[in-house]
């Protein structure tokens, strides 16, 4: 991957190594509109699925709409500055413009679905890191085709290219 560092600007010329770097960079730099503390929500007993409701049955885990945030925050912790930002969005009727942390670049042509991975018993932290320790989500786990394939081999999942790339 190292040989490509100069090409970072040329995303269209990138090979796999490059986009990983670009992604890591984006992930690390991700300036979220609200400093959402995952750890404190998890501590309160919330499950990942409570907010990312699609993870078990759908392709996309999904982000909760601001309405969902307001179910609790209409009453709870209203005084905190970050929560006030949430309330501001809710009042304006605009969805919070979260910055995506994990994504597959379009060049990879991956059609990832959460559901089968969840159903296969892969825990969220395998791919997304230990969110009990993170505040704002960061790109902590690097995904390469190698890491995907290693797991697929271990779990005897399909290794057909067209299982993911089409």
């Amino acid at each position: 991957m190292l040989f490509d560092w100069r090409k970072r600007r040329l995303i269209r010329f990138s090979s796999k190594g490059v986009w990983l770097i670009v992604l890591c960079a984006i992930g690390a730099m991700a300036d979220q509109p609200i400093a959402f503390p995952h750890n404190s929500h998890v501590k309160l007993g919330l499950d990942c699925l409570d907010c990312h409701i699609g993870a078990d049955t759908r392709a996309a885990a999904g982000l909760p709409s601001v309405r969902k945030c307001m179910l609790c925050h209409a009453k709870l912790a209203k005084e905190k500055p970050e929560v006030q930002k949430v309330i501001a969005y809710a009042n304006k009727g605009i969805e919070i413009p979260w910055v995506r942390v994990y994504d597959f670049p379009s060049e990879a042509h991956v059609k990832f679905r959460h559901a089968p991975h969840y159903q296969a018993g892969i825990s969220c932290s395998t791919c997304h890191g230990d969110l009990t320790k993170e505040t704002v989500a960061e790109h902590t786990v690097t995904h390469t085709m190698g890491s995907c394939l290693t797991c697929h081999r271990q779990k005897h999942a399909s290794e057909d290219c067209a299982a993911c790339h089409f």
């Binding site: 379009s106 990879a108 042509h109 005897h156 999942a157 399909s158 290219c161 067209a162 790339h165 089409f166």
Partner: protein, 234 residues
Amino acid sequence: MNQSNQTQHRWGMAIDSDRCTGCQACVAACHAENNLPLSDAESAARGRAVHWIRVDRYYEGEFPDIRVKYMPVLCQHCDEAPCEPVCPVYATYKNPEGLNVQVYNRCVGTRYCANNCPYSVRFFNWFDPVWPSPLDLQHNPDVSIRMAGVMEKCTFCIQRINRAEREAKEEKRPLADGEVQPACVQSCPAEAMVFGDLNDPESKVSRLAESGRSTRLLEELGTQPKVFYLQRAT
């Protein structure tokens, strides 16, 4: 691969020339389903228009005893596909369900496969595709947008196959015959196209493939195509 507990499908298609009217609904349906790059007059003039399925038309005879032959031609998903061995990076290969798959992210663009395809059904992305906004809102999220420098071709609507298989699996039932239909087959007003599992001897496509009118395109090359053309009855 490791799916021994499932019945293995072998997808194939039958096209009834007696029913085909040459209306090209299949062509438009394919464009709508598969995010085919949009050509413009200039790129079309330079031979860059992309139609994963096309309707070949040949005039036969001379006026007034002339007739025309319409023939939808798409990737034949050959069992012995000439495009597969020549790819230096395995970007095109035969998947367990008999589909000839093009892996866009692996393709480096030697275009050897296209030269070696006797059916000329492979298309190349000469440039990154552009859609004047908001035409891009129409993009099918189940299908990749291919970038410059890679080959593409008919996939038998693998996204539909995958979706149907997934849903069948979730509902713990076998796939029914005719449940999976590529966009072209789905659209065909004259129902000239039939898609299904060739491993299932009872499927409609298997029965048509066995019928007396069944032929295959350029069969003499030994490519073992999985698209069966039913000849016109006269």
